[in-house]
C-alpha cells in the first residue's frame, strides 16, 4: 500500500505478522531496516525510543456483542473485494515476510486468496482475523500490522485488534501499527474517494457503532445476495447509487468537498468513512473471469472513461492523534514512538 507514495491509491499490503527473533533485542530495528520501503525510515536509529504516552483514557467500553460479528460492510467491501482483486496484486503480498534468515515470520490475513499468494512464495502464513489472532499469548518478539486497522469499521474492533497484537508479543516486545491518515500528503487524493453517509453507516454497521447496543439481535446478519435474483437488494442499490455519485462529479462528492476539512470539523462532520476505489484496467480484468462476476453481483462497477473495473474498498481513515488515543489507555503497553510517514499514521508500542 502506502509504502510507496506513488502507488498510494492502490495499496497492496494488508497484513499482520508475528515475528520471532531468536536474538534478543535487535527487535524493531530489524523490522525497520528490513522494511526497506520507506515506511519506517523516519525512525531508523530508533534505539532511543522516547516514551510519550498520551494520558487520554478510552472511556468507550466494548461489549462483546459489538465485536462478535463482522459488520457487513467489512465482509463485502473489505473481505470480498480483497478476495476478488488478490490475483492482480503483482507486487503482491508478503513483502514483509521472510526478510531475515534469523527471524521467523508468520503472516496472517483474513483473505484466503491473498494468503495463498504468500504461501506460494514459500512464506509461513495463516488465515486469521485481526480481531482474534490465533497465537499463544506472549510468544512473539514483535508484531506488525500494516494497513489493517483502517479496514475495521468500529472503534471497538480497531481497539480489539490492537489488544490482540499486544497480547501475542512477549513483555518488552514491540508492536508496529500503521494506518492510512486522513491527512494525506497529496490532499487532492481524498477528493477521489466516496465519503460514506451516516445513514449508510448505520445500515451497514449499526446505529452509533461507538456506543453499546443492548440487543445484540439488532445486528442483521443476513448475507448479501450473490446475484440480483430477488430484485436488487437494498444494499446493492445503495452501493450503486454511491458508485454512480463517484462517477458523476457534482453530486454528493463535490458537495462535501466544497468545505475544507477544518470547516467540516467545526460542523462536527469529520468525514473518516470512505469507499476508496481500486482500479483494474480492462486489459488486466480479462485475465480472470472474476471481474465479470464482481460486476454482476455489484462488487465492482465499470468506469469506461478510465477503462477500468472499479472495486470500492471500505476504509476508516485515521485523523491525527486518533491512533495514539486508541492505544493510550492500555495498561499493558506504552507508546514508544509515533510518527507520520507517507500519508500513514504509525505507532510503535512496547508491551509492559
Amino acid at each position: 500500500m502506502l509504502l510507496k507514495s506513488g502507488v498510494l491509491k492502490d495499496p497492496v499490503v494488508c497484513l499482520s505478522a508475528i515475528v520471532c527473533y531468536p536474538r534478543i533485542f535487535t527487535t524493531m530495528n530489524e523490522v525497520k531496516a528490513d522494511n526497506a520501503c520507506n515506511l519506517c525510515a523516519p525512525v531508523s536509529g530508533g534505539e532511543s525510543f522516547v516514551q510519550q504516552s498520551v494520558p487520554v483514557s478510552l472511556n468507550k467500553r466494548c461489549s462483546s456483542s459489538i465485536l462478535q460479528s463482522t459488520p457487513e460492510i467489512e465482509k463485502k467491501y473489505v473481505h470480498r473485494v480483497y478476495d476478488a482483486i488478490a490475483p492482480h496484486f503483482s507486487c503482491g503480498n508478503g513483502k514483509y515476510l521472510g526478510l531475515n534468515p534469523n527471524c521467523y515470520f508468520i503472516g496472517c490475513d483474513i483473505s484466503a486468496p491473498l494468503i495463498n499468494i504468500c504461501a506460494d512464495r514459500g512464506h509461513e502464513v495463516v488465515v486469521a482475523d485481526a480481531v482474534n489472532l490465533p497465537y499463544r499469548t506472549g510468544y512473539g518478539d514483535a508484531a506488525i500490522s500494516i494497513a489493517v486497522l483502517h479496514h475495521l469499521s468500529t472503534e471497538c474492533r480497531r481497539k480489539k485488534a490492537i489488544d490482540e497484537l499486544v497480547r501475542v508479543v512477549k513483555k518488552g516486545g514491540l508492536v508496529l501499527i500503521t494506518v492510512w491518515a486522513r491527512e494525506q500528503e497529496d490532499s487532492s487524493l481524498i477528493n477521489k474517494w466516496t465519503p460514506l453517509t451516516e445513514n449508510y453507516l448505520e445500515e451497514w454497521i449499526g446505529p452509533s457503532s461507538h456506543q453499546i447496543r443492548s440487543p445484540p439481535s439488532s445486528f442483521t446478519l443476513e448475507s448479501i445476495p450473490e446475484v440480483e435474483e430477488n430484485g436488487s437488494g437494498e444494499h446493492l442499490r445503495d452501493f450503486k447509487e454511491l458508485s454512480c455519485s463517484m462517477k458523476s462529479p457534482g453530486t454528493i462528492h463535490l458537495a462535501s468537498q466544497s468545505q475544507d476539512p477544518s470547516e467540516k470539523g467545526k460542523n462536527g462532520e469529520n468525514q473518516q468513512e470512505y469507499f476508496i476505489p481500486w482500479h483494474l484496467p480492462y486489459h488486466r480484468a480479462e485475465v480472470s473471469g472474476a471481474s465479470a462476476c464482481a460486476l454482476a453481483n455489484g462488487l465492482a462497477t465499470k468506469d469506461d472513461k478510465k477503462g477500468a473495473v472499479v472495486y470500492n474498498r471500505y476504509y476508516h481513515i485515521f485523523s491525527e492523534g486518533e491512533l495514539e488515543r486508541l492505544v493510550s489507555g492500555m495498561d499493558n503497553a506504552v507508546v514508544v514512538d509515533q510518527f507520520y510517514d507517507k500519508s500513514n499514521w504509525c505507532v510503535i508500542l512496547e508491551k509492559r
Partner: protein, 122 residues
C-alpha cells in the same frame, strides 16, 4: 504449516481456557529441505513448548525427538539435526488442527491453517 508455526498457534475460541497445543490430524505431510542454522535453533529452543513439538512430530510420523530436552542437548549435532528437521522441514500440507478443549477442527489446506472463527465462537 511447519511445526514451529504449530508451536505458536492456539485456539482462540471464546471460553476456551487452554487452546494449546492444537492436536494435529494428518492427511498429508510433505518435507521441504531448509538450510541448517544451528544458531537459529539454539535461540529458538527457549521458546519451544517441547512436549507439544514432540507430540506434533509424532503425529506427523516422525518419532526421533527425545521426550524431554534441556539446553545442554543443544551441544549435540545429532540432536540439533533432529530438532531442525522436526521444527522446520516437516509440513502439514493437508489435515486439520483440533482445539484441545472443544474438538473444533481448523482445516489445513495447501499447507495453510484456516484459523477463522465462526460468529458464535468469538
Amino acid at each position: 504449516m511447519r511445526l514451529l508455526t504449530h508451536n505458536m498457534l492456539s485456539s482462540n475460541i471464546k471460553g476456551v481456557a487452554n487452546g494449546f497445543p492444537l492436536r494435529i490430524e494428518v492427511e498429508k505431510v510433505v518435507e521441504k529441505q531448509v538450510d541448517f542454522n544451528a544458531d537459529f535453533l539454539k535461540n529458538m529452543f527457549a521458546k519451544i513448548e517441547w512436549k507439544a513439538l514432540v507430540d506434533a512430530s509424532r503425529s506427523m510420523g516422525y518419532s526421533e525427538l527425545p521426550g524431554d530436552a534441556n539446553p545442554s542437548m543443544l551441544d549435540s549435532d545429532d540432536f540439533l539435526q533432529k530438532f531442525h528437521h522436526a521444527l522446520l522441514e516437516l509440513h502439514l500440507e493437508e489435515g486439520a488442527l483440533v482445539c484441545p478443549e472443544t474438538g473444533r477442527k481448523f482445516p489445513v489446506n495447501k499447507g495453510i491453517p484456516n484459523m477463522l472463527l465462526h460468529e458464535d465462537e468469538v
